[in-house]
């Protein structure tokens, strides 16, 4: 029987995920009446800065975070609990195998995933229909589609780059499609120069879109949520985003008839398709006081039933990480699940700001944003990124 206090910090501050998580915690609490659970939900953006503080002081027992490089500093600083023991349990070892790599550093596991989600292009089917367009498969189709949309007085894509990472998504896709997953990972690891011709090719492709006016104006002033209305109101036809965008779009009144999804198009036919599928995770801080309960909570979160529930269309609307749980029959989830499991031979990336070290991610995404506003500054931007690369990876 578990007793004591269990403090959980969440970054799921948007209304839908927040409710989902709170409901899940409610179910956990029911099972463990002896446990006093305190949940703190922190604004998602603020959470990213505050995690440092609460991992060292006033530490919760469980905290959400992200996989891969994003958790490395805390692992290295010894702030995350080694939960390899959990991963050794057959229940988890068998069912979570696919994400084990993303949570492994130095051969140990430092947390458990609770959801992941595909990225891809969400678009207004009704507008495509109106313009007689179909889902593009190749870069040329993409361009011609886009041109038609622009001609109809709309932008092809909405995007809000105020918090930078959305531009990182675009870069992920363009670069992975142009140069392939391995190159992309090398770039994130600082092994390739930013002034490399191949990188320039990625930007050249991007520039093509920018120059034709594919993106909405003033995206640098919006957060990703603030960019949603453009799509809802039909001023933009599509959004390259994670699956979490579906919920607010639906909430804003778009029906499933109006909304659809396609995989980001092929650019360089010689490289294999690769996808972004960021994994969100739960960790036990090393300074947690109730690690026993925390472990139990992690087991609970990754259990097949919970995974089914929290990731279904009414809740997170994302993909469960437990192989035993079922993917909701929500059309986007089905499509995404299929895409990730069958049509991503190149590999699955976490996301630019999780794959690249934080400092590099920051500088580069700032560069992407600048590039999207001022594509002509490319050389200057790349030079700057190259300098940053040399400084950052040097240390």
């Amino acid at each position: 029987e578990l007793t004591g206090e269990l403090r959980i910090f969440l970054d799921t501050s948007n209304p839908a995920p927040r409710a989902t998580m709170e409901a899940m915690i409610g179910r956990f609490a029911e099972k463990h009446p002896g446990l006093e659970i305190e949940t703190t939900v922190i604004d998602r953006e603020a959470y990213k800065t505050q995690i440092r503080n609460f991992l060292t002081a006033d530490t919760p027992d469980v905290a959400t975070w992200y996989a891969a490089n994003r958790m490395r500093p805390y692992v290295e600083a010894g702030l995350f609990e080694d939960v390899s023991d959990l991963w050794a349990e057959p229940e988890i070892a068998e069912n979570l195998a696919s994400t084990k790599g993303a949570l492994t550093i130095d051969g140990k596991q430092w947390g458990v995933p609770y959801t992941y989600y595909q990225w891809g292009v969400y678009y207004r089917k009704d507008i495509f229909d109106e313009l007689g367009l179909s889902e593009p498969k190749t870069w040329d189709e993409e361009i011609s589609n886009c041109q038609k949309i622009i001609d109809s007085g709309r932008a092809c894509y909405t995007i809000g780059t105020k918090f930078l990472w959305t531009a990182g998504g675009w870069f992920d896709y363009l670069n992975m499609r142009t140069n392939g997953f391995d190159f992309h990972m090398d770039l994130a690891a600082g092994k390739v120069s930013w002034e490399d011709e191949r990188v320039k090719q990625t930007f050249a492709n991007w520039k093509q879109l920018i120059d034709m006016g594919a993106f909405i104006d003033n995206h640098q002033t919006y957060s990703w949520q603030e960019a949603l209305p453009f799509m809802v109101q039909g001023d933009a036809a599509a959004y390259l985003m994670g699956n979490f965008a579906v919920a607010p779009l639906r909430e804003a009144g778009l029906t499933d008839d109006q909304l659809d999804f396609y995989q980001f198009v092929t650019i360089n036919p010689d490289v294999e398709l690769a996808e972004d599928a960021p994994t969100d995770t739960f960790h036990i801080p090393a300074n947690a006081s109730n690690k026993e309960a925390a472990r139990e909570f992690l087991r609970f979160v990754v259990s097949a039933e919970e995974q089914t529930i929290i990731n279904n269309g009414q809740n997170l609307g994302q993909l469960p990480i437990n192989a035993k749980s079922s993917v909701d029959d929500d059309k986007f989830l089905q499509e995404g699940f299929k895409m990730l499991s069958t049509n991503s031979p190149g590999g699955v990336a976490q996301f630019w700001d999780r794959d690249a070290p934080a400092e590099m991610a920051k500088v580069s995404m700032e560069g992407f944003q600048e590039f999207m506003v001022k594509p002509d500054n490319l050389d200057k931007i790349l030079a700057k990124l190259e300098r940053a690369r040399q400084r950052i990876y040097d240390n």
Partner: protein, 307 residues
């Protein structure tokens, strides 16, 4: 009773109370201030010689952080942008002083309800910069902002002030000028109250009018108000953090950063945690401010000695 037995009866404390008392009164305040302000300043100096991510152990790197800053300067990088913006802030923010003076002159009348007007004009100063930042973010909003609405009446716009690296700093400064102008206005209003009416009359007899009266006779008398306005404006400009944090987070692509924000970003934000580097930036900021602190203390010292 003789002097001797009087002193014997008194305790040591009682006899020396005038010498001890100030230290007792000072102790708590000085202690607090030392621990939280003075010592941290030196700690920051020290920290700026280290590389530390706030988690592990700090590594001594000597002047490396400053070297990096130097290279950022040479490369026209973030540090350069921040410093440049800080200078723009310093200069532009000073506009609050003439603006405040102008409004103060405008309101320096006795008509019915003027007190209420004065206090309403002062309003922006009491509001948190956070709220001011939000208000102006919406004011500038490229789609529905009042500014563009307004510009469209003249067939201008739309402009995206906060999204354009040419305008963004000015846009934020403008938002900051709003409360700051209100502040300067109050200082000048009280200053104007203290203007010696006989000097104005002397000026009238001497044939000074309007602008010349203002320049030759009123403004010199407002010197104390101007001095204070100057000090608080400079300090406000150098400390500017809230507005940038709320309105742009330093964006777009870092073009609205100032040192204060940059150091926060480097030290405590999502992708940051280079404490030593942040401390180095803070030290630079401190050195700039030190000029003004020294100036202020100097003028204060002169005043003290003058008495």
């Amino acid at each position: 009773m003789t002097a001797v037995d009087v002193t014997e009866h008194e305790s040591w404390f009682h006899r020396n109370q005038q010498r001890i008392a100030p230290w007792l009164f000072l102790a708590p305040g000085v202690l607090f201030f030392m621990v939280y302000v003075i010592i941290p300043v030196f700690q920051s100096f020290n920290l700026s010689l280290y590389e530390w991510d706030g988690l592990g152990a700090a590594e001594y790197v000597g002047m490396r952080n400053y070297e990096d800053l130097y290279w950022e300067w040479v490369d026209r990088d973030a540090f350069y942008v921040s410093l440049k913006n800080n200078l723009i802030w310093l200069v532009m923010y000073l506009l609050a002083i003439p603006a405040g003076l102008f409004i103060a002159l405008f309101l320096n009348q006795t008509v019915w309800g003027i007190r209420l007007y004065k206090s309403l004009f002062f309003f922006p100063f009491v509001i948190s910069q956070v709220v001011v930042g939000l208000v102006f973010t919406w004011f500038y909003d490229p789609t529905f902002g009042l500014l563009n609405e307004f510009l469209s009446w003249f067939g201008l716009g739309p402009v995206n002030i906060l999204g354009d690296e040419r305008f963004v700093t000015y846009g934020i400064i403008f938002a900051g000028l709003w409360p700051q102008t209100a502040y300067c206005m109050i200082l000048y209003l009280t200053g104007l109250n203290a203007v010696d009416p006989e000097q104005i009359e002397a000026g009238r007899l001497d044939g000074a009018k309007g602008g010349r009266m203002l320049w030759h006779i009123i403004l010199p008398q407002l010197r104390p108000a101007t001095f204070i306005a100057f000090v608080v404006t400079i300090i406000g400009a150098l400390r500017s953090f809230d507005l940038i944090s709320i309105m742009t987070q330093g964006g777009p692509f870092g073009s609205s950063r100032v040192l204060a924000y940059y150091m926060f970003e480097v030290a405590l934000s999502e992708y940051g945690f280079r404490m030593g580097y942040g401390a180095a930036i803070a030290v630079i900021l401190f050195l700039i401010m030190l000029c003004f602190i020294a100036y202020f203390l100097w003028s204060m010292y002169r005043e003290e000695k003058g008495h």
